[in-house]
């Protein structure tokens, strides 16, 4: 069953773009990452899924139910952790948790106590006395205490110290093992890489990629570092050679990566990154670093004619892939 499915989901704020024709699919039981720069449309997607805002067009289904038509039933089974946890002034942590449980018409005391203990959260403290991190803990307990089937987490670890982050991930991994779907929006790509099975990247309101995290990171591109007496003009010649070999005609991502193109714009971004062979070229002293997405034999043959002291070819990390997705038209092009 699909935990989340959107069909051409579009949201405009007046004339401003929120999200554009977003087609997203998250299976039940998945640990799904959702990435994008500020203003890409991550929060708009989440707020639409939670029924806080209404889509301009398209549909959003959560746990098989259309959010606009069956919002209450959806929210009964969803736990939401906002990026910024704000509560009513003057209330104690315990009162907030009780209010949240009462609004759900559930007795969550046992689970709430257990979570507070694990997160070292004092229920007697007043909300306004809490640090940002401790307020986040309250929001975590609110999101988890009713044992939801789907957890929507928006930048969940901001404000939490490393120990608490570890405990938090332990808790949500346990939930995920029990079958709970996790929809995890984050800027911290290492978190996505470490925890998520699949991930999607949004840019300017559109989904530009969606695949298994390993596949996204692999993406047939390699991070290359060459140290020695390098003739920079050679890179220009390599570029020409790549073009002649017709790599550009393939367009978009290299075949076989399994990457899903979001739409026409995403495809354009993909082709911008990978068809040209060399990206993110940087010279630092006697070292040259770049992302290479062409024929590796071509690269090795070309480098063979140079005086090389050291050469390393490695997988790029997800952050590099992510940066290149949204630097389309910028430095990365």
């Amino acid at each position: 069953m699909e935990a989340i499915r959107t069909e051409k989901l579009t949201k405009y704020y007046g004339k401003s773009r929120g999200i554009l024709e977003l087609d997203l699919c998250v299976q039940e039981g998945e640990f799904f990452g959702y990435m994008g720069p500020n203003g890409a449309g991550k929060s708009t997607t989440i707020r639409t899924l939670m029924g806080l805002i209404q889509a301009s067009s398209g549909k959003a289904f959560v746990l098989g139910k259309e959010i606009r038509e069956e919002k209450q039933k959806v929210l009964e089974e969803v736990g939401y952790l906002p990026s910024e946890a704000i509560f009513y002034q003057g209330m104690r942590v315990g009162d907030i948790l009780k209010l949240s449980a009462r609004l759900r018409k559930k007795d969550c005391k046992e689970e709430s106590d257990r979570l507070c203990q694990r997160l070292e959260l004092d229920k007697a403290r007043k909300v306004e006395e809490l640090s940002f991190g401790n307020r986040k803990k309250v929001a975590i307990v609110c999101a988890l205490q009713h044992n939801p089937r789907l957890l929507v987490l928006d930048e969940p670890t901001s404000g939490l110290d490393p120990l608490m982050q570890r405990e938090f991930f332990q808790i949500i991994k346990e939930r995920n093992e029990r079958g709970v779907t996790i929809f995890f929006s984050s800027h911290v790509l290492s978190e996505i890489q470490r925890n998520c099975g699949r991930a999607a990247i949004v840019r300017e309101g559109r989904m530009v990629a969606c695949d298994y995290v390993e596949a996204l990171a692999r993406a047939n591109a390699k991070r290359v570092m060459v140290r020695g007496e390098i003739d920079m003009a050679w890179f220009g010649r390599l570029l020409e050679l790549e073009k002649e070999n017709g790599l550009q005609k393939e367009g978009g991502m290299q075949k076989g990566t399994g990457l899903q193109k979001g739409d026409g714009k995403g495809q354009e971004a993909g082709s911008g990154i990978y068809s040209m062979g060399i990206r993110d070229l940087k010279k630092e002293g006697d070292a040259v670093r770049f992302l290479y997405a062409g024929d590796i034999n071509q690269l090795v043959r070309g480098l063979a004619g140079q005086h090389i002291l050291d050469l390393s070819i490695s997988e790029p990390d997800l952050e590099e892939i992510f940066m290149h997705y949204y630097l389309d038209g910028g430095d990365g092009k």
Binding site: Q54, P82, I86, Y88, L103
Partner: protein
């Protein structure tokens, strides 16, 4: 009822301050009446013959020297203005404060329909307005009894009832406005209550501005008019209730589909 209880707890400090302030002023006014009555002499005639000033405050319509007339003018103004400000502030911030304080996100991701949120919040507003009026009435009645005068209960209760209607009307209108706002509700609420009060003064002063009686609830709730006419203008009060109802309906229509930022 979860939200009603929550709102009553959230608003309890403001409620206690307003209830105490209005009750104290009302009781103080009542308690000084016997002393004033003795010194009054022709003061009542003077108050009722100060031309436009008397007309504006309705003092030309009652005998200021009687307990009923004194109560209608002095206590009417205190309860009228104080109660109107409280009702307007309470209602106008009821929905707006959730967005201003960024708590709407917390509230609305729970499985509660927007309709239920509105209904319980409206109930909380009306409950606070009703409790304020009961508290003020209780304190004022105790003060009236304590001064040993013969209390004209009918007129006094009618004045209190009229002011309750006025507050309910303003609360309904302000509740509707609250659904459209994201911030700045307090200024608007106070402004509406104050403008309505001054419209009544203008309507009292000028016959040409008589149409304002269809606009401001202070006209039908004016204590001096109620005492002098021994009754409440049912048509105008009914119209006022319709205005309040229109505000509430606007809140349901707007808030049901509002994007929460």
């Amino acid at each position: 009822m979860t939200l009603v209880r929550h709102e009553l707890r959230q608003g309890r400090v403001a409620f206690l301050v307003w209830a105490a302030a209005i009750s104290f002023l009302m009781a103080a006014c009542v308690l000084i009446y016997p002393e004033m009555e003795g010194d009054m002499g022709n003061l009542g005639d003077m108050f009722s013959s100060m031309g436009s000033f008397s007309e504006a405050f309705g003092m030309d319509q009652v005998n200021f020297g009687t307990l009923e007339g004194f109560y209608a003018v002095e206590c009417g103004n205190i309860l009228g203005l104080g109660g109107a400000f409280f009702a307007a502030l309470c209602a106008v911030s009821m929905l707006e404060k959730e967005e201003r304080g960024h708590t709407a996100e917390f509230l609305l991701v729970h499985p509660v329909s927007r309709r239920r949120v509105l209904t319980e919040k409206l109930a909380a507003v009306l409950a606070q307005v009703a409790l304020l009026n009961l508290a003020v009435l209780a304190v004022s009645s105790a003060a009236l009894v304590s001064i040993g005068e013969e209390v004209p209960w009918k007129g006094i209760l009618l004045v209190h009832f009229a002011y309750f209607l006025l507050q309910a009307e303003l609360a309904g209108i302000c509740f509707g406005i609250s659904a459209f706002l994201r911030r700045g509700g307090m200024g608007i609420g106070l402004g509406i209550a104050a403008v309505m009060y001054f419209l009544q003064l203008i309507a009292n002063l000028s016959k040409e501005a008589g149409f304002l009686k269809y606009v401001t609830p202070f006209w039908y709730a004016e204590g001096t008019r109620i005492v002098s006419e021994s009754g409440l203008d049912g048509m105008l009060a009914g119209l006022g209730m319709l205005y309040g109802l229109a505000g509430v309906l606007a809140a349901y229509v707007k808030y049901g589909g509002k994007d929460i930022q």
